[in-house]
């Protein structure tokens, strides 16, 4: 669309958006827990981005498999200046592995949640807006998924597909999409009641356009909260699967795998092997939950006038 410039520059055209954004920042600043979550989150993200510069040791990849340099003379050494988080039973530097592990955790979290959300948004929006047998069919399928506990279902799927990171992610997507479908559907049912939807119909917009231009954009904000918290939950579940031996191979920079491997040594006094990756999981999951919780308040329409 060519624009006739009658109304001034970018700042002017986006004045309202800028105001909204500033207001969001203000609300965020007012909530200490949200800020704590946000800072922790930024910390994890920065670690993930700058892992190659932060970690003293780096893996090599052979045929997609991760190999870490090791020093047999340093086996199971406790935290020291040289190895901040100590080493494992082959002499790998645990600090480097925990740092690199953040990349994998975030990767799993984001991909799984985004894919699950996309599926959920599409199905949920059609289910809620179109109604009738489409709705009925989609909802019954969701119900079937809800009948199994999530972790058990994920375990079964991973077990069937075979262990490995990719398969864990597929399993988690399968487990997660029905939740989004349901939330979005509920949201759509309430958005649908707004008169602007009817106004769009009165103006002659097609159903497809109404769903994508009006219904979905107005249904998404509430699920952002859920999505943020789910990032943490997905990471936690993925770690759980890895802990059960269904995730990545041994001696890879995967927090779940590391906790799992170190567990056997815990009682023998080698506490650091499990503890540091465990802490990393804890911090990340907590960060997403705190931030998600705060986001709920910030996006609350009552606060937003």
């Amino acid at each position: 669309m060519t624009e006739v410039e009658v109304t001034g520059g970018f700042r002017k055209a986006h004045e309202s958006q800028i105001k909204e954004f500033k207001y969001t920042l203000y609300l965020m600043r007012r909530s200490p827990l949200t800020m704590t979550g946000l800072i922790m989150l930024l910390f994890v993200v920065i670690v993930a981005i700058f892992a190659p510069w932060i970690a003293p040791y780096h893996p090599t990849y052979i045929g997609g498999q991760q190999y870490w340099p090791y020093d047999s003379s340093q086996m199971l050494s406790p935290p020291s200046l040289q190895h901040l988080f100590g080493t494992d039973d082959m002499g790998h530097d645990l600090f480097s592995m925990v740092v690199y592990g953040s990349r994998e955790a975030l990767y799993i979290g984001f991909i799984v949640v985004i894919v699950a959300m996309l599926i959920g948004i599409t199905l949920g929006a059609y289910s809620g807006y179109v109604g009738g047998w489409v709705d009925e069919a989609i909802m019954r399928v969701c119900d079937m998924f809800f009948a199994f506990p999530g972790l058990v279902l994920a375990m079964a799927i991973t077990a069937a597909l075979g262990p490995g990171l990719q398969n864990v992610m597929y399993a988690l997507m399968v487990v997660w999409w029905p939740g989004y479908t349901r939330i979005i559907r509920g949201q759509v049912l309430s958005v649908k009641e707004n008169q602007y939807i009817e106004a769009a119909r009165a103006v002659g917009l097609s159903r497809f356009k109404i769903i994508w231009k009006h219904v979905i954009p107005n249904s998404i904000p509430p699920i952002l909260v859920q999505a943020t918290m789910d990032l943490g939950n997905v990471i936690l579940t993925a770690a759980g699967l890895a802990f059960l031996g269904l995730g990545a191979a041994a001696y890879t920079a995967d927090w779940g795998v590391m906790v799992s491997q170190g567990r056997a040594w815990l009682l023998a006094g080698y506490w650091w092997w499990s503890t540091f990756p465990g802490l990393a999981i804890f911090i990340t999951v907590l960060a997403f939950n705190l931030f998600g919780d705060g986001l709920r308040d910030i996006l609350d329409p009552r606060l937003r006038r």
């Binding site: 669309m1 009658v6 909204e20 707004n194 008169q195 917009l205 107005n218």
Partner: protein, 356 residues
Amino acid sequence: MSEDAILQIYGLKKYFPVKGGFFGKVIAHVKAVDGVSLEIKRGETLGIVGESGCGKTTLGRTILRLIKADDGMIFFNAPPDVQDRIRELVGRKDEKSKRELEEIRKKYDLNRKNDKEIRPYRRKMQIVFQDPQSSLDPRMTVKKILAEPLLTHKIVPSHKVESKIIELLELVGLKKEHLHRFPHEFSGGQRQRIGIARAISLNPDFIVLDEPTSALDVSVQAQILNLLKQLQRDLKLTYMFITHDLSVARHMAHRIGVMYVGKLVELAPAEDLFNDPLHPYTKLLLEAIPIPDPTKRKKERKLFTGEVPSAVNPPKGCRFHPRCEYFMAGVCDKLEPPLVEVKKNHYVACHLYTKG
């Protein structure tokens, strides 16, 4: 009655299912609109008044085919000779007439058209909603809101959209500074102006105004009412003005229809309705309106009893009979009174006037 009618409706019915029980079975129906027939003349304002839930909005939405009527005919913009023919055919029972009417319906009845076929008509009939808060998408700027209908129907080439929008804004008393603002940054009256701009953007012939001022303050209401009147003059619009406020109806409408529980009980020229209300319900309504003059306080405070009955199980016979002071046992609770012309252009549905 051979004036040019922009809209003719006959026996319009809309029943909403009421679901209940374990499996969401339909257990009853809300008879929101239950057999309404009327005509709207080109260029006039037809007021529809009635209390909450009597089916005013539903009537407007079914006419615009935002919801599909369960029964009845809606002829919009039929050629004058066809209009006359329809009027002649509607009452007739013989096979030949029925077949002829069927042919006309296939061509002109909105109720016979599917969603795709309806779309071109959308340009010609529009609606302004009651609630300025929820009738504008909160995530869209004014520009996007107004561009949508223009682009959908390709009213102007896309490089002229912005200047057309500015023209529309000025027409409804807003400024081009408002172009990039979000709905929540406007007052109720301004939002309603945006809603009006959206409705007139497609150069419609006919607009349903569903309580366009009931959410507004009186001083702003006056601005909007004046604006609507001015637009009607300038753009040659026909209005169906829905309101629960009789004084607003009087100010705006040429003719007024009074609805009660899904039915039209009285239809008359505005002056006539106020000077000589015939239906007992209309009388009650007029009695209940407070007058903005303390010296005209009613000496005797009338006891208004009862409430509007549910449209799920409306009373048998005349729906007003449980509240009516002229109730005639054996007649009013048995027979449904038809809408008949009692005086010139003055229609009433009440047994007081049908007995002769």
